[in-house]
Subunit: 233 residues, 2 copies
Amino acid sequence: MPRLNFTRAMSKPETMEQRRADNIAEQLEELIFNGTFSDGDRLDEVRLAEQFGVSRTPLREAFQRLALSGLVELIPRRGAFVRQPGPVELMEMFEVMAELEAVCGRLAALRITDQALEELRDANSNCQAAVDARDSDAYYAENERFHRIIYQQSGNGFLAQEATKLHKRLKPFRRQQLRFRGRMAQSMAEHEHIVRALEMGTSDLAANTLREHVAVQGEKFHQLMATLKNAAE
Amino acid sequence: MPRLNFTRAMSKPETMEQRRADNIAEQLEELIFNGTFSDGDRLDEVRLAEQFGVSRTPLREAFQRLALSGLVELIPRRGAFVRQPGPVELMEMFEVMAELEAVCGRLAALRITDQALEELRDANSNCQAAVDARDSDAYYAENERFHRIIYQQSGNGFLAQEATKLHKRLKPFRRQQLRFRGRMAQSMAEHEHIVRALEMGTSDLAANTLREHVAVQGEKFHQLMATLKNAAE
DNA sequence: CTTGGCATTCTTGTATACAAAAACATTGAC
DNA sequence: GTCAATGTTTTTGTATACAAGAATGCCAAG
């Protein structure tokens, strides 16, 4: 006889208390992103367990989560292997990212609030300040804020969530890109165009501008490939 | 001193041998989809463990996977709760699905092979046969094949994967839809238009036709809401 | 009748134990 | 020297054990 009579989940308690396993998943993610582990590396359960000061159980739970997000491949009876996207998959992911952003932009052009527009302008001026100060960290932070606002203003929570997920996944690669000369300034200029399109409420223009902004083509393609080779060394 | 000197994963062995935990995740997914568990239900670890004849450990690993795919919400120290999308989230998901299909169509119009076109026509004639026989199961199977081909012909593996994932997630809701009068026939007709657009290689037409085909609007909206109410009773 | 606090029982989260499978190393044949 | 077979050791997958946190029930006070 089941005890818990509250078989229904009450309204989201929005508990931000994390279990240990969740933290471990995040930390592992970070270790993969920052290059401590690279493609093909095997994640040793016992060593990582020691390192994190926990037993294998929560680690294995973390592996499950990472596996579904694609960062790790779980090969039965063999272990967990880091799985970074190769050039082809990376291009594919950027292509999807560009399309997702375009959709967000198209919807946001119709639904964005005045307040959000103001925040976009604010993020943009912070970006400009970062460009002037050649502070790529600050630039990146504000750039992320800029895009996140657009995701949210699409008015489609699910879409915003998916876009955020992919954005996060591509973060390390995008970040490399910013180190190229003139990249920050160009990106800034594109942001201005995007804001203008959103202000005007022209869906198609907003969509196309965002797609172009995110798409990897022309010189950006070569830059991306260059960073990949560096990462592989 | 690490033992495994093969620290790199060899080329994908494409091992289809599943671990127990993977199977459990799939079975649970099925149980959620077919309505054995409905929104808000708590998944009892010990009971399910008995039911599946395993211990709690593999079950908990399965929970982790289901949590990331959104079917289950893991509340710390409280348990795993089934989380079915409500009307709003469902509409959002269909909107994203429509956009993903549109992108697939746009790319596929440029890249589709003659052989794939032939397969689309084949799937379509099977669909027609199913409509004539009023066999909604067969219709659904061929419909799925139809869409899957388009995903794959986008030439973007990552996109195809994401589209497939969402398609699967929406499966139970789409399936309900087919029971409405005339829905299968209308859907069939739209498929014809889609194939024609792909044949002609007109990207925009293919994209728009697919978007309209998948989008939930007008009468379809009411039908979807009706199925939701039925499911809640 | 409702409300609040305490004890009890159940449930989760984590650690540990153990069996099965995989990788490694050694030996021997060619 | 290369390669195959076999025994050893590591490593994974699962079961079990145990500690800490929730939920329930009970009792008393208002």
